[in-house]
Symmetry: C2
Subunit: 494 residues, 2 copies
């Protein structure tokens, strides 16, 4: 079908080129920005062409900045050829993950709402090029994002050059779904003028000086979104506990919901399908399948996020009824979707998953045993610190019970007891609001820990209280003994 | 002089009573709010009367909620008689500190900006009474705060009954210095309409239904503010390093400054007196002596905080030239002064002190050796997460070198590597902006650690990298070995 009819600025038609030619604009040592937030709306053809060149022997390593994780054609293809020297602010993928943990790649784990402003503030170096997947280019050079917005508006503003991939698998009906607003920087920053989830305050395109656009490439590779796991009993139990708890706190009128990425988050939203909540709204990062279900049955009336992130089936459903969904969904820059100002103003209920929590209510969301990066902190810190109610979810055990996810002391700290109000496992809900650390311990152990580990947690706590005391009793030489035991014996159990 | 001429609502004259009578309104088991933030603007006569009754044998224990720490007549007097069952959100004082660490008192360490809304949201129970130090009472019942605002506006709104202490040592010229604005709660919360430090958006008094005022007491006890330590060489060196660094980042135009409580913070501001910065503004919590110095020499043009907290000498100076200072200073509720929305909008430089930091740039600001509460997280989390630039300051060693304040792994986490941009010790400045964890290590060790501990830190890190690897190399069984060694031998040194 060609992309000429998606380029409304006719001067830019001369910039149409091949992915191979466009990829040549990426040089060794550059900082490259790319659109994309989860495997949605990221460039595909140009990164694949770049990876091919490197595979054929050219030496290129780049800093790669995106909105969050992206799809395999970008992160995995470039990580495979070890072409990424520095990566931020979030990632998912076997190969890239191994590169990070093997020390082949630097990785900055930044609160997602802060990455764009840190680039503008000069903390992250000068961006040379950015590659943007687009639906179309407006007459004024404005670029319409496809299935995610992420950090792209700021990347376009900050990069010297812009490469556009017009993706013909992304329907033109996406035009009008995004709302692009970049806050001015201090000292002239103004309030973000949003007081309701569905409010629009910006433009439907990402402003771009057309002279910056150095190449336009046609692409038809579809978003490689990830299939969702089947709803397991554990996730269903967590969802059910949490929904009952929310009902007890808010009655029938829930604040806007933020729900993290992945199966557990999707299960929570799925649990709402069969609840009697009505008029739900989501102020969140990513829009997953169960939100589409909730829209379909009329329970979810407005969703604001920075990315669609449905399963392959969900994406097909979305495309099929795009005009309908578009009325309910706004995609915003992650600087807005995840902004502290907005989470606090709207009083969102923030629901994110932890790798492990401890008896005092701290959480580790990123580093297995303190060391191995899993994905990243993502937006969880943006929301957890500023939400009206902050909930962390985790199954009580992993590896068939060999790992307790409730431990004496988490091995890495992402969210502290100062901001976590509620912990949910399949065992139950620990309501920590208004509790002192020592009041939290019994609630977390009895409501959230797996029964196999409760006595061990009590033993640790009782000895810490007796032997050390203080505001937060802690045995320094045993704090990580559970983690050490697992490494030595394959189980945290004694 | 009497207080009748400070009560402009003449119906309320009938409520004038003694401190002893007013104190009888406080019953066992109540939740009591009190004005005050640092030893400024807290009630004195009624708490002393209450403490006296308890000393004489009456059994009363209360939950005590304030803005932050308060003066000895409140916290220490009541802690001495073990009359506080639960305390929030911050404290300072030998007796109260011992009560917390001995387990005699529950203590909730809450981000200061969030305490008022948590009370309104129902997380902290129902407030029975609040005791407010005031300059005067307006005709409409509105109460004019004295030297701090803190959480008092919300306490007045939430408490069933209000006891007012009109303090005649607080001059009437304080009227007009405060700007009271309580944000509406979600879903009808609007942007905080402040875009500049000195902007006023509210009323000069704290609104109060006059029917809630059940007692008015005359008091003339002065604020027991704390003397500042002499500027030591260590603090001067930290200030000098930081000021040089700020110059390199911002040139001559600094963003609004937030500066924590205490001697180090005061030293940093004092360092600015002799710098060539002009037109400084502070968006901060507490207003200390060196800010008055900066106003005196015309370098500081506007200060917004929630409390005056000068030394006794500084307070005298302030009173002497109150009309002049009042033009430059706005006191706001801590929900506004510390609000995430404001810190981010204004792009403040947040400067707070740590107890210890680790080689990856995490900080412990509250718990000695993970266990013993010092003061609390206070507002440091409000600012550090949301500032334009986040700085943590700490001397490199304590106890004459026996404790390194740069350790392999901090024993308690208040601020994480995700949000700390700069660490300053008397040794130098570690600029961590844009660095991956493994890039941070050499910078922190070489620029900030004390030379006596550098080899030990390198040894830990190199072995962790070799033996464990990963994104954040960590030796689980040695993470706290330095703290353990100190407990066993009296020094962290080998």
């Amino acid at each position: 079908m060609g992309i000429e009819n998606r380029i409304f600025n006719k001067d830019l038609l001369s910039k149409i080129t091949t992915a191979d030619e466009a990829a040549k604009l990426i040089k060794d040592g550059m900082i490259v920005g790319a659109s994309g937030f989860t495997p949605c709306g990221y460039p595909k053809c140009v990164p694949l062409a770049l990876a091919k060149r490197i595979k054929e022997g050219e030496k290129i390593r780049i800093g790669l900045y995106t909105g969050a994780s992206v799809g395999v054609e970008l992160d995995e293809a470039l990580a495979e050829v070890n072409a990424i020297s520095k990566r931020l602010p979030y990632q998912t993928g076997k190969i890239i993950n191994k590169r990070i943990n093997d020390g082949d790649m630097l990785y900055l784990d930044i609160h997602l709402s802060q990455s764009a402003q840190q680039l503008r503030y000069g903390f992250l170096g000068k961006m040379d090029v950015c590659i943007v997947e687009a639906v179309c280019i407006m007459e004024n050079g404005g670029i319409v994002p496809s299935t995610s917005v992420g950090n792209t508006p700021t990347f376009i503003q900050e990069a010297d050059k812009v490469i556009v991939e017009i993706n013909t698998s992304q329907p033109m009906e996406l035009v009008g779904m995004s709302d692009i607003f970049i806050p001015a920087d201090p000292p002239v920053r103004h309030p973000i003028p949003i007081t309701d989830v569905s409010q629009r305050i910006g433009t439907p395109y990402m402003p771009c000086d057309p002279r910056k656009i150095v190449a336009i490439v046609e692409c038809d590779i579809t978003d490689k979104t990830r299939p969702l796991g089947a709803l397991d009993e554990e996730s269903k139990a967590m969802a059910s506990h949490l929904i009952d708890f929310l009902k007890s706190v808010y009655g029938n009128k829930l604040p806007p919901l933020q729900s993290g990425v992945g199966d557990v988050a999707n299960a929570v939203m799925a649990g709402l399908v069969h609840s009697d909540f009505e008029n739900l709204k989501c102020w969140t990062e990513v829009i997953q399948d169960s939100m589409l279900d909730l829209i379909d049955i009329g329970k979810l009336t407005a969703v604001s996020g920075t990315s669609l992130s449905p399963s392959p089936d969900g994406l097909k459903r979305f495309y099929d009824k795009i005009k309908e969904y578009r009325n309910k969904i706004v995609l915003r820059p992650q600087e807005i979707s995840n902004n502290a100002e907005m989470a606090r103003r709207l009083g969102v209920v923030a629901m994110n998953t932890a790798l492990e929590v401890d008896i005092y209510g701290n959480s580790n969301s990123t580093h297995m045993f303190g060391t191995r990066m899993v994905n990243g902190i993502g937006g969880s810190g943006d929301f957890s610190r500023n939400a009206g109610l902050t909930v962390m979810l985790t199954p009580s055990v992993a590896k068939r019970g060999a790992i307790s996810r409730v431990v004496p002391h988490v091995a890495h700290y992402d969210h502290t007891e100062h901001e976590i109000h509620v912990i949910v496992t399949e065992q139950g809900v620990a309501d920590l609001r208004g509790l002192d650390p020592k009041e939290k311990v019994p609630v977390i152990i009895e409501k959230c820990a797996h029964p196999d580990y409760r006595d061990m947690l009590w033993d640790y706590y009782n000895r810490a209280k007796k032997e050390v005391g203080g505001h937060i009793p802690m045995l320094l030489d045993e704090a990580y003994s559970w983690h050490v035991r697992f490494n030595e014996t394959g189980t945290m159990k004694m």
